[in-house]
């Protein structure tokens, strides 16, 4: 009986020493609405990036076309208009 009591006693003492389960730290928005806003912003961000890439690519194409025509060289004797 005494041994049973001691076992239970030490089990309880041991249990109080166990660390409490720590909640997982939220590293991202937890609310579905906030998540929705973030994903929406990500899609808009990519649309912006793709738009910029397309604009730069078009500009680059135009530059190459002018370079191939050989009219990108600066004329030294051109009159200066201020």
């Amino acid at each position: 009986m005494l041994s049973m009591f001691l076992i239970v006693f030490f089990l309880l003492i041991g249990a109080t020493m166990l660390p409490a389960a720590e909640p997982k730290i939220e590293v991202f928005a937890a609310a579905p609405y906030d998540r929705h806003i973030i994903y929406q912003a990500l899609v808009l961000f990519w649309i912006g990036i793709i738009g910029l890439v397309v604009i730069i690519a078009m500009k680059l194409r135009e530059i190459k076309r002018i370079q191939d025509m050989g009219i990108d060289e600066e004329e030294k004797d051109a009159p200066f208009l201020d």
């Binding site: 730290i25 590293v27 991202f28 990500l42 990519w46 990036i49 730069i56 370079q67």
Partner: protein, 354 residues
């Protein structure tokens, strides 16, 4: 002051015309492997990106063993967009090291290190080493149990180097073991010493690249196309690559924000199944290949010595590859380069999967 007047004001004091000419007349070789040139510009972009996100985080981080972990939790959970900045910094670091590895291995296989570009190679290699130390020191600032164990293993490994190991270990740890002193030290490395060294070495690297021009692989010297002007052609192409990279970093940061583990406890045992960051996995896996004792000597010490010798050979490769220096093909060093690449990739993958 109008833009034209500002230009006149500056040109009266400084030779800005020379800078304009440098941009106007700088050309980049055009050949089959010229896509690898973008890795250099991309690394520079990612360095700047890391500086910006790092500065934002440094405003709120508290470099003290008692408060470091909590300050990161506060950054992530309480600050507006704090989670995004931390995640961007984390993924930016991963991509910086990845792109640097790509840059180094492409330079190795295309023999971009050959005469007269030995110093370009050496400064580039130093930048890779700095970046890896950036990664380790930044990881430790989390002050969670995984980071703590990782730094204990990494600094312990450095301590196994013969003769100078104890000195390196003591210098990195700031004492006999990893403690709050180590955190202060790593913080100083991460936000002051390493950025300063990075700026100097990167500046030197870029200066040397401008001085020598881009390297053309031996096999492509006869097959080159018309050189392309750096500005605007290459500059615009670089911009496109940077924009896509920015998109990738932001996407990774949003979809996979890095976790925060439990606060480090110096007296607690290391957590089970601990793994280092991916760029240390090849070292970790190599150490596993060695037995605990070889001919009465410590197996780990022998492994560290062999790994250090291999890294030193890699660093000094321009001085060993004499054939490339004489503009002759050197298949032996191509195979050595392939071996390094395959070994690194294979060990990293095995380390990741097991």
């Amino acid at each position: 002051m109008s833009c034209r007047r500002l230009k006149v004001w500056l040109s009266e004091r400084y030779d800005i015309e020379a800078l304009g000419n440098l941009a106007r007349f700088k050309t980049v070789p055009s050949h089959r492997f010229d896509a690898w040139y973008f890795a250099g510009g991309l690394t520079l972009f990612l360095f700047v990106f890391q500086f910006i996100t790092g500065m934002a985080l440094a405003l709120y981080y508290v470099p003290h063993a008692e408060h470091a972990h909590k300050s990161i939790i506060d950054i992530v959970t309480k600050l507006n967009m704090g989670w995004l900045f931390r995640s961007l910094h984390h993924w930016g670091a991963q991509l910086t090291i990845l792109v640097l590895f790509v840059h180094v291995f492409s330079a190795l296989l295309l023999k971009a290190y050959r005469k007269p570009r030995e110093l370009v190679w050496l400064t580039g290699f130093v930048m890779l080493a700095i970046s890896i130390f950036f990664g380790l020191s930044g990881y430790f600032l989390l002050w969670d149990e995984r980071a703590f164990a990782a730094v204990r293993v990494a600094t312990g490994g450095a301590g196994n180097l013969p003769l100078i190991g104890w000195l390196i270990k003591g210098f990195l740890r700031g004492g006999l073991d990893v403690t709050g002193e180590t955190l202060t030290r790593f913080y100083a490395f991460h936000v002051a010493i390493l950025p300063l060294v990075t700026i100097v070495v990167t500046g030197l690297h870029i200066l040397l690249v401008q001085l020598h021009g881009m390297s053309v692989p031996l096999s492509q010297e006869e097959k080159q196309g018309r050189p392309e002007p750096f500005f605007p052609n290459l500059f615009y192409k670089d911009l496109i690559v940077w924009l896509i990279c920015l998109g990738v970093v932001v996407t990774l940061a949003v979809l996979f924000p890095p976790e925060i583990g439990r606060k480090a406890d110096p007296l607690a045992p290391a957590p089970e199944n601990i793994k280092p960051e991916w760029y240390f996995l090849f070292l970790f896996q190599t150490l596993k290949l060695f037995p605990g004792e070889i001919l009465g000597m410590n197996g780990e010490t022998i492994a560290i010595v062999i790994i250090s010798a291999a890294i030193l050979f890699f660093f000094l490769i321009p001085f060993f590859d004499r054939r490339s220096a004489m503009e002759r093909k050197s298949p032996l060093f191509t195979w050595i380069g392939v071996f390094y690449l395959v070994y690194f990739t294979l060990m990293t993958v095995i380390g990741f999967l097991t």
